[in-house]
């Protein structure tokens, strides 16, 4: 029996569709239920940012989570497979027409992803003031709270609508199948079996 942590929303739906394709039966949560029990799997519906924590602490053996969230949290889990879903970028956005000038002192960067941002600027030996925000990141440069933002970009529409544009990509992201390290050791047969099946679906999809 494997416990699988899924992030609420589109990714959970897409992942369950993969399981349906593999096993030929229906995998669906009952209304508002957070646990789905099947013969060989127990699915947990959790918040996207909590998936890696559930897996890291072995409340779940495996899970599905975005690479950006994994990189941000830095939890030690096994990255089994790139599912090539939820493809997006973590990018730097600035007001339209402005150019990224890393030589400027006292740069202010607003972001939800403090660790990714910190690492990016540290690697370039640029000292920045990182402002942690929890949402509406695009607002920060418009009201003078920050010079730039670091945020997830899928199509770039939200930035465009708010008069911002991408000036640099930091990383590409997509959803990953992850596993707990001890679960991988103890339940290798089961984990590699589902890994193979999901990999085949992803390859053929």
């Amino acid at each position: 029996m494997l416990t699988v942590a899924l992030p609420k929303g589109r990714i959970a739906k897409e992942t369950l569709e993969i399981f349906e394709q593999i096993f030929g039966s229906q995998f669906a949560f009952d209304d508002r239920k957070l646990i789905l029990e099947t013969e060989n799997f127990r699915f947990l519906l959790v918040r996207n940012q909590d998936v890696a924590t559930y897996v890291h602490r072995q409340a779940a053996d495996i899970g599905v989570v975005g690479l950006d969230t994994l990189e941000e949290q830095g939890l030690d889990v096994v990255r089994l497979l790139d599912l090539r879903k939820g493809v997006c970028k973590v990018a730097i956005g600035m007001k339209k027409g402005e150019k990224l000038d890393l030589t400027k002192p006292e740069l202010k960067v607003a972001t939800k992803m403090v660790n990714i941002t910190k690492r990016y600027f540290e690697q370039r030996a640029v000292s920045v003031d990182i402002i942690k925000l929890y949402g509406s990141i695009e607002l920060a440069p418009l009201v003078g709270l920050a010079d730039m933002i670091v945020d997830i970009v899928e199509t770039g529409t939200t930035m465009k609508q708010n008069g911002l544009e991408v000036v640099e990509d930091i990383m590409e992201s997509s959803t990953y199948l992850i596993a707990n390290k001890n679960s991988y050791i103890a339940k290798k047969d089961e984990i590699l079996s589902i890994y193979e099946k999901i990999r085949d679906v992803v390859k053929n999809g």
Binding site: N182, I185, K188, D189
Partner: protein, 285 residues
């Protein structure tokens, strides 16, 4: 503000039942070890040599001695025990089998109680591993024993330009499998001792040698709950070949292996008392 009842995060407090259980674990361990020719040693909590055994020096709690030399609080006992036996007590005793029951501390305020065992100058890992499992069985536990050989990922990194040690640290199997080598794929899937011969028949000589060591160790064990993890890699400064972990769900109950200090091979292990107190406490309700 620090409230009157607070203790620093990561520090340990045992009382009543849990303190009794901790003492019981230490008693069971010391009885087994005395019966097998080991003697106890208690080493200083202050050390000059901790940077030799801790991979990340930032984990050390550092202070200075009276001449302003750097010293650290003991974050690992092994290197200090072996060095003290060899360099300081060499003329006082011929004893090579030692155990210690003392905590280690890491930055900022983490404490870890453990029972440690070192068989200085021995390369018989099966002997100390057998003792480790005997202690755990006497504590009525039947955890999973993982056998690994850290040389295997190191050799693979030498063999394949595409691979780095980080691929093994993060168990990046997709990348390893994409190399499309039959023996390497079988090595990824290797979990049970019975599967070993199949991989041994296909693997290149260098890998065969290291797998054979795993097989020899497994064959000497009188324990049935065992898995092989030949590609397991963790940041460890001194285990250089065979090593083992004893795991229960998400916890590591014990860890040991073969290591080298001052060009001398020794074997040893540590049993983590805090995890055992929690586990046995839960089992007892």
């Amino acid at each position: 503000m620090i409230l009157e009842h607070e203790i620093p995060q990561g520090s340990k407090l045992y009382f009543g039942k849990s303190a009794k259980l901790k003492r019981h674990i230490e008693k069971v361990a010391s009885d087994v070890l005395y019966d097998n020719g080991f003697e106890e040693i208690v080493t200083p909590i202050f050390s000059y040599h901790q940077h030799h055994s801790i991979a990340d020096e930032k984990e050390l709690i550092r202070i200075n001695d009276e001449k302003n030399h750097n010293i650290s609080l003991r974050a690992d006992s092994t290197v200090d025990v072996v060095r003290l036996i060899q360099k300081r007590l060499g003329r006082n005793t011929a004893q090579k089998k030692w155990f210690y029951i003392q905590p280690v501390v890491t930055y900022p305020t983490n404490e870890q109680y453990q029972v440690g065992v070192e068989s200085v100058g021995s390369d018989d890992l099966a002997e100390v591993l057998g003792l480790c499992m005997e202690i755990l069985q006497k504590l009525e536990l039947h955890p999973l024993l993982q056998l690994s050989n850290i040389k295997i990922p190191r050799i693979l990194v030498e063999m394949f330009d595409e691979l780095t040690l980080d691929d093994f640290r993060h168990i990046n199997i997709d990348k390893i499998l994409s190399l499309d080598e039959e023996w390497l794929t079988k090595l990824v899937y290797l979990q049970h001792v019975e599967q070993l011969d199949e991989v041994l028949a296909l693997a290149p000589k260098e890998i065969q040698v290291e797998l054979a060591k795993l097989k020899a160790l497994a064959s000497k064990l009188k324990y049935d709950h065992v898995v092989l993890a030949p590609m397991y890699y963790a940041k460890m400064l001194y285990y250089h070949e065979l090593f083992f972990r004893v795991i229960d769900a998400n916890e590591v109950l014990a860890r040991g292996g073969e290591y080298e200090v001052d060009a001398q091979t020794s074997v040893g292990f540590a049993i983590y008392s805090d995890e055992l107190v929690e586990k046995i406490g839960k089992n007892n309700g």
